[in-house]
C-alpha cells in the first residue's frame, strides 16, 4: 500500500504544485518539498517498523500490491519493494528534495509547471523502482522520460533543444528496443506455458530457444546501458547534463542513471541467466573501457558540468563491472556505488549550478581563486571531490573497493586495468579544485559563498556520504536482501558450463 501512496503523493504533489502556482495559492517549491518530505518520512518510518516479510516466489519483499489492469494480456498493476527498491526509492525522495533546493532561484518562468515536471519524473522513477509487471515498468520508464525532456528543453541552457532531442532519441530508441524485447519474451513464455503474462515472477526462468535468448537479453541490456550510461552509448549524457537546469542535472545524475543499473540488476540479468553468464565478460570489458576512457574525457573538459558528467560515466563503469563480475561482493559494491554516486554527483552538479548562477558561466577558464571569497563552498566541493576519488571513510570507497575486490576474483587482469581508474580519478577530481578554487582570483568581484539553504542541502548529502562510508553494513544488508535470487544466474551459468564436462566424464566412464 505504501508504494501506491508514495507514487500517488508524487503525482498529486506535482499537480498541486502546478495548481498552487497557477492560482497563486502557495509557493510551488514548498509544495514539492512538502510532498517529498512527507514521502521520505513515511518511507523511513516504514523501513524502521516494517519487519514482516512477504515471500513471493521464494524472494523476500517488504511490501507489495497487485491490482488487475488488462487481464486479457496478463497485465496487472504489480508493485513490490524489497531492500534494493527501498534504498533506491529513499535515494530518489532524498535527492528530490535536494533537486528542488538546488534550483530554488533558478527558474524564472513557469515555476509551477517546472515543479510539476520534476515531481512527475520522480514519480516515474519510484514506479520504475517498484514495478514488477514488465508492462507497468515500461509505462513508468516512459513517464520519467517525457517530463525530463520538458525540463531540459524548456528551462535548460543555451543549447537546450539539441541536448533535449538527443536525450529523447537515445532513450526513446532504447525504450522501443526494451518494449520489443519484452514482447518477444512474453511470447516465448506464452508458447511454453500457454498463458500470457507480463508478471516478473512468471517470466523468471522462461526458457528461450537458443540463439534467440541472447538477442532478447541484448535488447534489455542495450536499453539499460543507454540509461546507465555505459560506453559506447554514453554520448547523450554530457550534453543532457550540461544543458539541463540544476535540478534536472541533479535528478539525472543522482537518480535517473540508477534506473539503468537497477534494470540490469533486477531484469536483464535474472531474466536471462545463461545468456548473462555468456555475455558477462563483454559487459565487464565495456565497463572497464568506460571507466578509463571517460575518466580521460573528464580531464579534457573545460565546462565544469561536462566534466562532472563524464565522471558520472566513469563511475557507472564500476557499476557495470560489479553487476557482471558474478559474485556477491562485487554486486554489493555495485549497489553501494550507485548510492554513493547518487550523493557525490548530485552534490557536484548542485555546486556547478550554484556557480553558474553566480558568474553566469560554466567555463572553468573563467574561474579561479574562489577559495578566498567562498571558503565554505571550497571546503564542501573539496569534500565531494575527495569522496568521488574514492577516499576511504566515505561512501564511494566502499563501493569501488567491493567492486574491484569481487571483480578481481572473476578476472584479475581486467580488474588491474579497471584499477587505473583509481589513478585517473584524482587527475580529474583535483583539477576541478585547482581550476575553480585555487590559484589567483581571476574574477575581480568576489563571489558569494554558499547561502544557508545551500549549506543545509550540501550538509545533508555530506552526512549521508559519511554515514555510508563509515557504517555501510546496514545499507549493504538491506540492498542484498534478495541477492541469492538476483545472483542465481551465476550458478545457472556455471551449471550450463559444467554440464558438458559431466556428460563427458559420464561417457568416459561407460
Amino acid at each position: 500500500m505504501i508504494i501506491v501512496v508514495l507514487i500517488g503523493l508524487l503525482f498529486g504533489g506535482g499537480v498541486l504544485a502546478w495548481a498552487a502556482d497557477r492560482f497563486k495559492l502557495a509557493d510551488p517549491r514548498w509544495v514539492s518539498i512538502a510532498s517529498l518530505a512527507i514521502g521520505l518520512i513515511m518511507l523511513l518510518a516504514f523501513s524502521l517498523y516494517q519487519d514482516a516479510v512477504i515471500v513471493i516466489d521464494g524472494q523476500q519483499w517488504l511490501a507489495s500490491v497487485q491490482a488487475s489492469w488488462i487481464p486479457r494480456f496478463g497485465i496487472s498493476a504489480l508493485l513490490a519493494m524489497d531492500g534494493l527498491s527501498l534504498l533506491m526509492v529513499l535515494l530518489t525522495l532524498f535527492l528530490g528534495i535536494v533537486a528542488v533546493l538546488s534550483s530554488w532561484n533558478e527558474t524564472k518562468h513557469s515555476k509551477g509547471f517546472f515543479q510539476f515536471n520534476l515531481m512527475w519524473v520522480l514519480a516515474g522513477v519510484v514506479g520504475v523502482f517498484t514495478a514488477l509487471d514488465l508492462f507497468l515498468f515500461f509505462v513508468f520508464w516512459e513517464v520519467m522520460l517525457i517530463p525530463m525532456y520538458f525540463i531540459i528543453a524548456i528551462w535548460g541552457h543555451e543549447k537546450r533543444r539539441y541536448a533535449a532531442i538527443k536525450f529523447f532519441i537515445f532513450t526513446q530508441a532504447s525504450g522501443l528496443l526494451l518494449l520489443l524485447s519484452m514482447v518477444v519474451l512474453v511470447y516465448f513464455h506464452y508458447q511454453a506455458e500457454g498463458f500470457i503474462s507480463f508478471n516478473y515472477f512468471d517470466l523468471l526462468g522462461t526458457e528461450l530457444p537458443s540463439g534467440m535468448g541472447l538477442w532478447v537479453m541484448l535488447g534489455f541490456f542495450v536499453a539499460f546501458v543507454v540509461k546507465l550510461p555505459g560506453f559506447p552509448v554514453h554520448t547523450w549524457l554530457p550534453d543532457a547534463h550540461t544543458q539541463a537546469p540544476t535540478a534536472g542535472s541533479v535528478i539525472l545524475a543522482g537518480v535517473l542513471l540508477k534506473t539503468g543499473a537497477y534494470g540490469l540488476i533486477r531484469f536483464a540479468v535474472p531474466l536471462f541467466p545463461e545468456e548473462s553468464a555468456l555475455f558477462a565478460p563483454t559487459a565487464m570489458l565495456l565497463g572497464v573501457i568506460g571507466i578509463i576512457y571517460t575518466a580521460a574525457m573528464a580531464f579534457a573538459q573545460t565546462d565544469v558540468k561536462r566534466l562532472i558528467a563524464y565522471t558520472s560515466v566513469s563511475h557507472m563503469g564500476f557499476v557495470l563491472l560489479g553487476v557482471y563480475a558474478g559474485n556477491a561482493t562485487a554486486m554489493r559494491g555495485a549497489i553501494m556505488t550507485m548510492l554513493a554516486h547518487g550523493m557525490t554527483s548530485a552534490a557536484l552538479f548542485a555546486f556547478a549550478g550554484a556557480i553558474q548562477q553566480r558568474i553566469h558561466s560554466r567555463d572553468m577558464r573563467e574561474m579561479g581563486g574562489f577559495w578566498s571569497s567562498a571558503p565554505r563552498m571550497g571546503a564542501i566541493v573539496m569534500f565531494f571531490s575527495v569522496a568521488a576519488l574514492g577516499m576511504p571513510g566515505l561512501a564511494n570507497f566502499v563501493g569501488e573497493f567491493l567492486v574491484l575486490l569481487g571483480a578481481f576474483q572473476a578476472d584479475a587482469w581486467l580488474t588491474a586495468v579497471a584499477a587505473l581508474g583509481l589513478i585517473l580519478a584524482p587527475v580529474y577530481s583535483l583539477i576541478v579544485i585547482q581550476r575553480i578554487f585555487h590559484g589567483k582570483p581571476l574574477v575581480e568581484r568576489p563571489i558569494a559563498d554558499f547561502s544557508h539553504r545551500e549549506v543545509v542541502m550540501m550538509g545533508m548529502m555530506m552526512l549521508v556520504t559519511i554515514w555510508l562510508g563509515v557504517y555501510p553494513q546496514a545499507a549493504l544488508d538491506l540492498a542484498t536482501q534478495n541477492l541469492a535470487s538476483l545472483m542465481a544466474w551465476v550458478e545457472v551459468g556455471a551449471e550450463s558450463a559444467v554440464l558438458p564436462d559431466l556428460a563427458m566424464t559420464a561417457g568416459g566412464g561407460q
Binding site: K166, F231, P232, H234, T235, P238, A296, M297, F299, A300, Q301, N327, A328, T329, R332, G369, W371, S372, A379, V386, G390, M391, P392, G393, F397, V398, F401, L402, L404, L405, G406, F408, Q409, A412, T415, A416, A419, L420, L422, I423, P426, V427, L430, I431, Q434, F437, H438, G439, K440, P441, V470, Y471, P472, Q473, L476
Partner: protein, 615 residues
C-alpha cells in the same frame, strides 16, 4: 587502560572537526590544534608503559570498534592492533607531532588561514595513527589514503600560487599510482588467503605458500609498489622534492618524520609475507641502495635549503629500505626513529632560518648566520652530525647497524654495502656543504633570531637532545621481528667497521675543504665542462621528471586535447547526418507535380511486373 587506545586517534580527529566547523579565534585554534595532539601523546605514553608492563610474549593489544563492512567471506572490522612496532610508530607520530604542532603556532602565527592549517595537521595525525594502528589492511589503507589527502592539502596550503597546487596534485597522483598497486595487492592476498587481517594473513601465507613461489612474490611486489610511492623511492620518488612547496612544519612532520616512513612501516608490518618472497626482498634492498645513491648526488647540487633536506630524506629512506631488504627489520625501524628525530630537527631549524631570512631559501644568498641565529645554528650542527652519522650521535647507531647487516647479506651484500658507504660519504659532504655555506663565511644578511619565540625554540631544543641521545634507546622488537640469522661480530678496528664509520668524517672534511677552506675549488669544478653536465643532470634529479613528462604526461595530455569532443559521439552525429541527407533526398521527390508521380507509379509497376516475370 589499553581499552582506551581508540581515544588516541579520536582526539586529533575531534580537533580537526572543531577547527573545520567552528570558526575559532587564533588563540583557541592553537589550543585545540596543539592540545588534541598533546593529549594523544600523553595517552600514547601511558599506553606504552602499560603495554611494556605486560608479561613477555603477551605484549599485544587488539580492539574491534565496529564491523565496517562485510560480504561473502570478507569481513572488515574497524579494528586496532597494538604491539611494540605500533607503539614505536605511535610514539613518533604523537611525540614529534606534538613538538611540530607547538612549533607551528609560532611559525604560522601571521598566516590568515591559521585554523585551516591546524585542522589539516590534526586530520593528518589522526589518519597517520589509523595507518599504524590498523589491524587489517583496509584500515591501514584508510590511514594510507588519509595521510595522502592531508599531504595534498598541506602541500597546496598556500593555494594562490598555482605551482603549489601543481606540486600538491603531483604528490597525490604519483603516490596514488603506488596506492593502486597496493590495492591490487590486497585483492590478490584476499583471493588466495581469504582474509585481510594482517596477523591472520601472515599465518595463512606461511601455511599456504612456499618460500619464493609465485603468489607471495606477486603479493609482496604489489604491496611494495604502495610503499615505494609513499616513501618516495625509485621509480616513484619524483613527488617529494616538489612537496617542499608546503609550509616548513609540514615538510618536517609529513615529508620527513612520519608519512614518508609509512612505506617502511608497511614492509616491516608485513615482513612475514616478504620473507616468503626473497626476490622481492632483494629488490627492496636494490631499490633502497639506488635511491640513496641517486638522491645523495642530487642533494649535492641543490641550492634550496629545503630541497637539500628533501633529497637527503629520500636518501635516508633508502637506507631504511636497504635495511628491510637485507632483513634487518629492527635496524630499519630504528633508523626510522632516529631519522624522525634529526630530520624533524633539521627541517624545523631550516624553517626558523627561512623565517629569520624573510622567506629566502637559497643557501647561496645566506652566509655567516652562525652568530646571528645561534639556536638554529646549533640545531643544524647537531642534526647535521646525527644525519652524517658521526659516532655517538643517534644516526650513527642506526646507520651503522644497517650497513653492517648489509655487509652480511648473502646476495651481493658487499656491493650494496659499498653503495651505502659511498652514500654515507656523500651525506657528510652535502650536509656540511649546507652548514658551511649557510652558517659560516661572510655575514651578508640582517637576519635576527629575536623574533623567534619560545614555542619555536623549545621543540628545537627537545629534538636536539633526542638527536643525540636517541641512539641509546633500545627498541623492544624481540617479539615482533625474527632475529637476523648471522649476527655480525666485527671488532672495533676491523676493516669493515672502520670503513663504515669513517666515510662520513671524510665527507665533512671534503665539504670543509671545498666550501670553506678553498671555495674556488667547488666553483671551478662546477664550471668545468663535465662538472657542469653532471651538475645539471644531478640537479634535475637524474632526469626522471623529464622522462615521465615525455612517456606518460605528454601522451595523455595529447590524447585528451585532440579528443575533447569525444570521438564516439561522431558515430551518432554521422547517423544523424545520414538521416538528414535521406530526408532531403526523399523530400525532393515530393514535388507536387502529377506527371512525376505518374511516372513513379508506372516505374513501380514495371519493376514489380518485371520481378514477377523473372520468377
Amino acid at each position: 587502560m589499553l581499552e582506551l587506545s581508540w581515544l588516541i586517534p579520536t582526539f586529533p580527529l575531534l580537533g580537526f572537526l572543531l577547527l573545520a566547523l567552528g570558526r575559532l579565534p587564533k588563540k583557541l585554534a592553537a589550543i585545540v590544534g596543539v592540545g588534541s595532539v598533546g593529549v594523544a601523546a600523553l595517552l600514547t605514553l601511558g599506553m606504552a608503559l602499560e603495554l611494556m608492563g605486560l608479561p613477555e610474549g603477551e605484549r599485544v593489544f587488539r580492539q574491534t570498534l565496529w564491523q565496517w563492512f562485510a560480504s561473502d567471506g570478507l569481513s572488515v572490522p574497524f579494528a586496532f592492533y597494538i604491539d611494540a612496532l605500533t607503539m614505536v610508530m605511535m610514539s613518533i607520530i604523537t611525540g614529534i607531532g606534538f613538538l611540530i604542532h607547538l612549533y607551528s603556532v609560532g611559525y604560522m602565527a601571521d598566516d590568515p588561514a591559521f585554523a585551516r592549517f591546524f585542522a589539516y595537521m590534526n586530520l593528518f595525525v589522526a589518519a597517520m595513527l589509523a595507518l599504524v594502528m590498523g589491524d587489517n589492511l583496509v584500515v591501514l589503507y584508510l590511514g594510507w589514503e588519509g595521510v595522502g589527502l592531508c599531504s595534498y592539502l598541506l602541500i597546496g596550503f598556500w593555494y594562490d600560487n598555482a605551482e603549489n597546487g601543481y606540486a600538491a596534485r603531483k604528490a597525490f597522483i604519483v603516490t596514488r599510482i603506488g596506492d593502486t598497486s597496493m590495492a591490487l595487492g590486497l585483492f590478490l592476498l584476499f583471493m588466495h588467503l581469504g582474509t585481510l587481517d594482517i596477523q591472520q594473513l601472515m599465518v595463512n601465507a606461511e601455511q599456504a605458500w612456499a618460500v619464493g613461489s609465485l603468489w607471495p612474490t606477486l603479493g609482496a611486489a604489489l604491496l611494495l609498489g604502495g610503499a615505494l610511492g609513499k616513501s618516495a623511492q625509485l621509480p616513484l620518488q619524483t613527488w617529494l622534492p616538489d612537496a617542499m612547496a608546503g609550509p616548513t612544519p609540514i615538510s618536517a612532520l609529513i615529508h620527513a618524520a612520519t608519512m614518508v616512513t609509512a612505506g617502511v612501516y608497511l614492509v616491516a608490518r608485513t615482513h612475514g609475507l616478504f620473507l616468503l618472497a626473497p626476490d622481492v626482498m632483494f629488490a627492496v634492498a636494490v631499490i633502497g641502495a639506488l635511491t640513496l645513491f641517486i638522491s645523495g648526488f642530487t642533494a649535492l647540487t641543490q641550492t634550496d635549503i629545503k630541497k637539500i633536506l628533501a633529497f637527503s630524506t629520500m636518501s635516508q629512506l633508502g637506507y631504511m629500505f636497504l635495511a628491510l631488504g637485507v632483513g634487518a627489520w629492527s635496524a630499519g625501524i630504528f633508523h626510522l626513529m632516529t631519522h624522525a628525530f634529526f630530520k624533524a630537527l633539521l627541517f624545523l631549524a631550516a624553517g626558523s632560518v627561512i623565517l629569520c631570512m624573510h622567506h629566502e631559501q637559497d643557501i647561496f644568498k645566506m652566509g655567516g648566520l652562525r652568530k646571528r641565529l645561534p639556536v638554529a645554528f646549533w640545531s643544524f650542527m647537531i642534526g647535521g652530525l646525527a644525519l652524517t652519522a658521526l659516532p655517538f650521535t643517534s644516526g650513527y647507531y642506526s646507520k651503522h647497524e644497517i650497513l653492517l647487516a648489509t655487509a652480511d647479506y648473502e646476495r651481493s651484500g658487499m656491493l650494496l654495502w659499498g653503495v651505502g658507504v659511498i652514500a654515507a660519504l656523500l651525506t657528510g659532504l652535502y650536509t656540511f656543504r649546507l652548514i658551511f655555506v649557510v652558517f659560516f663565511g661572510n655575514d651578508t644578511s640582517h637576519a635576527d633570531e629575536s623574533a623567534v619565540g619560545l614555542n619555536i625554540k623549545l621543540p628545537l631544543i627537545v629534538l636536539c637532545v633526542l638527536s643525540i641521545a636517541g641512539g641509546w634507546i633500545t627498541l623492544p622488537f624481540e617479539e615482533v621481528f625474527p632475529q637476523l640469522a648471522a649476527d655480525h661480530h666485527y671488532g672495533l678496528f676491523s676493516p669493515i667497521n672502520l670503513l663504515t664509520t669513517l666515510p662520513p668524517i671524510v665527507g665533512i672534511g671534503v665539504a670543509w675543504y671545498a666550501y670553506l677552506a678553498k671555495p674556488s675549488i667547488s666553483y671551478t669544478l662546477a664550471r668545468s665542462r663535465w662538472g657542469d653536465r653532471f651538475k645539471r643532470f644531478w640537479f634535475s634529479g637524474w632526469g626522471f621528471d623529464r622522462l615521465y613528462q615525455h612517456v606518460l604526461i605528454s601522451p595523455f595530455m595529447w590524447f585528451t586535447r585532440i579528443n575533447k569532443a569525444d570521438v564516439v559521439d561522431s558515430v551518432y552525429t554521422l547517423i544523424a547526418w545520414i538521416m538528414r541527407i535521406v530526408h532531403r533526398l526523399l523530400s525532393m521527390t515530393q514535388t507536387g507535380r502529377v506527371q512525376w508521380y505518374a511516372a513513379g507509379i508506372a516505374l513501380g509497376v514495371v519493376v514489380i511486373v518485371g520481378l514477377g516475370v523473372m520468377q
